[in-house]
């Protein structure tokens, strides 16, 4: 059943411009950092002389956090909006398919698209570093950690946005919360370690990125289950 619903979900996002968005996010982040590094090349190269690749990866990561939150909100809203637009929920859910499966597939689709965006971000970072002439001695572990772990840390937001977008017809509401989160996360590093927004920066007192990603994954799972149960119990309008 899951395979069929998933195939249907992939088909539904055709010609919706979602792929363009998925590409635009990471490319925008890398592009802005390219501007930053090329404009202040001498200054930054001198300042980060010890760890040039670390500087590129770190700067890209800082900028990718608000972009990731905004991207989650927009893509989750687009995926759910396909059903809201002509109230196709009643058609989809009157098919021999369980409600949890529909919800799970929407969430899986969002996550898969985000992983693609993370991969593009990693690839873009490598291209940028090489273009800046920082050599090919790329710190792969750091690159992978900073490209993919924020995605795991962002799970609570992905689950929340999926839940809101699916259960609220008015998409202005989930989009507003998305904007709110991406603005608030700019102050993310200044708050306590327990605040989910800080997790995306992978910074904590232990200096261990997995201590940020782990709770993110866990809280994401909790919110996902709550959203799922709510969706299953809710009447279809």
């Amino acid at each position: 059943m899951m395979r069929g619903v998933m195939a249907s979900e992939w088909l539904k996002i055709r010609r919706k411009g979602i792929w363009l968005l998925i590409a635009l996010g990471p490319l925008g982040v890398v592009g802005l950092q390219a501007l930053n590094f090329f404009l202040r090349y001498d200054y930054l190269t001198k300042r980060y002389a010890d760890d040039l690749w670390g500087a590129v990866i770190g700067n890209v990561h800082q900028l990718s956090v608000p972009t990731l939150l905004m991207g989650i909100a927009i893509v989750a809203s687009m995926i759910a909006g396909i059903e809201h637009q002509t109230n196709a929920w009643k058609q989809t859910l009157a098919l021999p398919v369980s409600k949890w499966c529909v919800f799970a597939c929407k969430f899986t689709l969002l996550c898969t698209l985000l992983v693609c965006a993370c991969t593009l971000l990693a690839a873009g970072t490598v291209v940028l570093g090489i273009a800046l002439g920082y050599g090919t001695d790329i710190p792969l572990v750091t690159l992978l950690v900073k490209s993919y772990l924020p995605f795991l840390a962002a799970m609570p937001f992905a689950a929340l946005q999926t839940w809101l977008s699916i259960t609220i017809k008015n998409q202005a509401i989930p989009l507003t919360t998305g904007v709110l989160f991406s603005v608030l996360c700019l102050f993310g590093t200044a708050v306590g370690d327990w605040v989910p927004l800080k997790w995306l920066y992978l910074e904590n007192q232990w200096n261990e990125p997995f201590y940020s990603a782990g709770p993110g994954l866990l809280l994401g799972l909790v919110i996902y289950v709550i959203g799922l149960i709510h969706f299953i119990r809710k009447d279809v309008s």
Binding site: G4, A7, S8, L11, R14, T86, T92, P96, D235
Partner: protein, 307 residues
């Protein structure tokens, strides 16, 4: 009546303080076209949503194909096709892709898409985005989607809403052909008596959430008390003649040459016309005078506050 395909027991849905559906006992037999009739807001769509498991009943049960819907929802829905209210479609996709999106879930062969497209005559438009379709075409695509899984039960909620006369006619012919050609049972809701009358074999009438009538279309005709109006050249002579053969005709107030007769069977009516003609009375018109749905509702619900 044949074996029940849909059977509800005391089906109730409370929305806020209002009883949207109140202790409904529907019974729809195999191979029937069941016309589910009621004014707007009577609870038709709420009932249909409960039949499809889209909303949970406050009380009562739904049995489809003899199985409890709440327990066996998936296996029941595999045998049901539906079109609820306005058609649902993905405007950015073509008609073919819309059907493919549903086909993936139903897991039926791809060839079914072409088959259902030809049933609703949309084969030529299959590659066009649905957002450019007319309402009639969208509605037909909705029917195609409902037919995709070769259902044994088709549930159509107001399928002719918003269609032009030719669209309505087409939809009606399509619905009428289903039980004959494909052995389906059809539940079709409408707020128009005339609409239901032309295709249904069984009728259920709902008003204010309550089922106030459920029987065959023939029984409804009897109940609705439609009358026959005959226009002749000699009203008085015709009246006497009918009276002599035991039929109490009434004069129409505005025209003495028009007589009103109680509802008669086709054979009886043919006999009466023959009688008049044989006695040199010219028969100009024989018409059925139907009372409006509103009148009937008032009578069935027994009060003026029913609408």
């Amino acid at each position: 009546m044949s074996e029940a395909v849909i059977e509800t027991n005391q089906l109730t849905k409370k929305l806020g303080n209002k009883m949207a559906v109140d202790r409904l006992d529907l019974r729809i037999g195999q191979g029937e076209i069941y016309g589910f009739l009621g004014p707007n807001g009577a609870g038709k769509t709420t009932t249909i949503r409960m039949l499809l498991g889209l909303i949970r009943p406050t009380r009562g049960t739904v049995r489809i194909f003899g199985r409890d819907l709440q327990k066996d929802r998936l296996s029941v829905l595999r045998r049901v096709g539906s079109l609820v209210e306005y058609p649902s479609y993905y405007g950015h996709l073509t008609a073919y892709e819309n059907l493919e999106a549903v086909r993936c879930i139903l897991d039926v062969p791809r060839s079914r898409i072409d088959e259902v497209l030809s049933v609703v005559r949309l084969t030529k438009e299959a590659k066009r985005p649905v957002k450019g379709f007319s309402l009639g075409m969208k509605q037909r695509l909705g029917i195609a989607t409902a037919l995709l899984g070769s259902p044994e039960l088709l549930i159509l909620d107001e399928p002719t809403n918003g269609l032009d006369p030719s669209g309505i006619l087409e939809m009606r012919e399509l619905i009428k052909s289903m039980p004959k050609q494909l052995g389906m049972t059809v539940l079709v809701s409408s707020h128009l008596l005339s609409e239901v009358e032309q295709m249904a074999t069984q009728v259920g009438i709902i008003a204010q959430g309550k089922l106030i009538f459920q029987d065959s279309i023939e029984a409804l005709r009897q109940h609705s008390g439609s009358r026959i109006r005959i226009s002749v050249d000699q009203g008085e002579a015709a009246w006497k003649m009918l009276l002599a053969s035991g039929i109490q005709a009434e004069w129409e107030l505005t025209d003495a040459n028009r007589l009103l007769l109680p509802h008669e069977s086709d054979e009886q009516l043919a006999r009466l016309v023959k009688l008049l003609v044989h006695n040199d009375i010219s028969v100009y018109r024989v018409e059925e005078e139907k009372r409006s749905l509103e009148d009937m509702f008032l009578e069935l619900t027994g009060g003026g506050d029913s609408l």
